[in-house]
Symmetry: C2
Subunit: 187 residues, 2 copies
């Protein structure tokens, strides 16, 4: 649980509170192609990624539409399903072997109401998530696929190196054929 201790330590928790928080998570391993969240099932956990790459996607007319990929040291959630306790509209799958520190909703709620400061931490986490998702939504409307690609080149270079271009194309909202054209014109 080392990463988790470090993370919450940096967030200002210590002693019994830190232990209480860390003990509420459990580390689960996933092999390449394992599902973490499956379409139609309600997601009961959120988590902090210890290592690995996880692909969020939906099947449409038999095709995978990737809308997000998370990497290590970031939070992981099928937000809509977890928050509203409804069946997930998406699949989340391990693209590599990896592991995630998971926590379920009852335990999360307990931390929020019982551990001093955790409530402020959770509000901060929600606010950060909103900023990230809102900015991403903003870019989808305001920027072209080429501009989004250029933005990723500078803002997420480590992600770009790790994931196959076909997934990236899907995230950008274009076909692999077209991403190839975009990459070609940039050179």
């Amino acid at each position: 649980m080392e990463k988790l201790v470090n993370y919450f330590g940096q967030m200002g928790f210590e002693g019994d509170n830190l232990k209480r928080i860390v003990d509420s998570f459990s580390l689960q391993a996933f092999e390449k192609n394992d599902f973490v969240v499956e379409f139609g099932k309600t997601s009961k956990h959120i988590g902090f990624i210890n290592n690995g790459l996880f692909q969020y996607y939906v099947l449409k007319d038999g095709e995978e539409k990737t809308h997000y990929i998370s990497i290590e040291n970031t939070w992981f959630a099928s937000l809509l399903s977890f928050i509203s306790e409804t069946p997930s509209q998406e699949n989340i799958r391990a693209l590599t072997n990896g592991s995630i520190y998971l926590i379920n909703k009852p335990n999360l709620k307990k931390l929020v109401s019982e551990v001093p400061g955790f409530n402020a931490f959770y509000i901060g986490l929600l606010e950060q998530s909103i900023c990230g998702i809102d900015a991403s939504r903003f870019d989808l409307i305001v920027l072209t696929a080429e501009e989004r690609y250029l933005k990723m080149l500078t803002s997420d270079p480590e992600l770009l190196q790790q994931i196959p271009l076909q997934y990236l194309a899907s995230m950008l909202g274009v076909t692999p054929r077209h991403l190839s054209r975009i990459r070609n014109t940039i050179r």
Copy 2:
């Protein structure tokens, strides 16, 4: 402040707590074309819309790109700017005369930390916002403009009736010319 009293009453607040909450807001009127939030300035408030239509947009190459429109009885915010206290990337403007109950951040924080239950309310509001924004982002990647239009027809009929099609086209990510084609093929 009637709408606000009703709203927070339905949320389970009463007596002194309800009064304390409502008194933290102030009603501000806007005339058509007034700016509520201006590009480059940090947004200091969030609010609850008493009445009116408010357009969120950005100027790109001299053109307005509308990414959202809020209507009465919903919450209003330039989220990224308000939360992260950075200059707004967007303009928000009144499309009609209207008014908004506004609250600033210090007052909001006080309510969160001092009024019993407000903290849970605020977490719920953030969670609801995340669900809405995430679903919208999801649709932008997974659905075509035509599918998004059909979805709005059933999910937001009142909004469709109120806003000019040019703004709707922009929200859907197409030109007015193309929205006209979409509407034509649907008939």
